[in-house]
Symmetry: C2
Amino acid sequence: MAAHSQRDAYLFKKVISIGTVCELTGLSERQIRYYEKRKLVFPERSEKGNRKYSFSDVETLMDIANKMEDGMQTAELRKELQNAQTKRYDNKLRERMIRGQLNAYFNKRD
Amino acid sequence: MAAHSQRDAYLFKKVISIGTVCELTGLSERQIRYYEKRKLVFPERSEKGNRKYSFSDVETLMDIANKMEDGMQTAELRKELQNAQTKRYDNKLRERMIRGQLNAYFNKRD
DNA sequence: CGTGTAAGGAATTCTGACACG
DNA sequence: CGTGTAAGGAATTCTGACACG
């Protein structure tokens, strides 16, 4: 599942509050919470229950904003987003396999 | 001045509120604001005046926390931090010059 | 010097609901 | 379906100050 390098640490760390996400995306709080209910974004919660988003979430939300403008519905968007996730995962896997073959070929280790 | 690649965009974007910085660093709000007064960190302000920090600021603050534990004072810390900044800048410069030479040697372009 | 704390106010965020469509 | 809004409460953040040392 967690196929992220340490380089991506800041991309996925959930530290941004909803107000800042509004500024970053141009979306309203209402919209952002609604997309959560429709399972398009998954913020974490602080101890007191405040939503925390990652930069990756912000990117997803900007993508959502564009697709919604084009008339896409949340149900369809959910499928798309899952597809994107899967594709990214597949790429990681492919990468790893290729690296494995190369390492074998050149007789190298990690 | 701004010698940051696009890759670093998330590292320097000021989006984290002080409460989250407390959780991330283990410092109190009081301490974080004090280090700002002593010119060790430079948060931005939201429209309503709330402090916003970057991941880079958080790293700086963790560094500060360590040095303070070792008995270092803020005045001394300020000098150190400026030095670190300068060094980083020098490295970037050196890197760029070397790249330039290599490109000239191999007759390549960006 | 560096940090805790109580103080009072302003801004933030949360939830569930009414509304329109 | 997607989003605006008013409602009331709880948590956040801000500043300037008193305190200890």
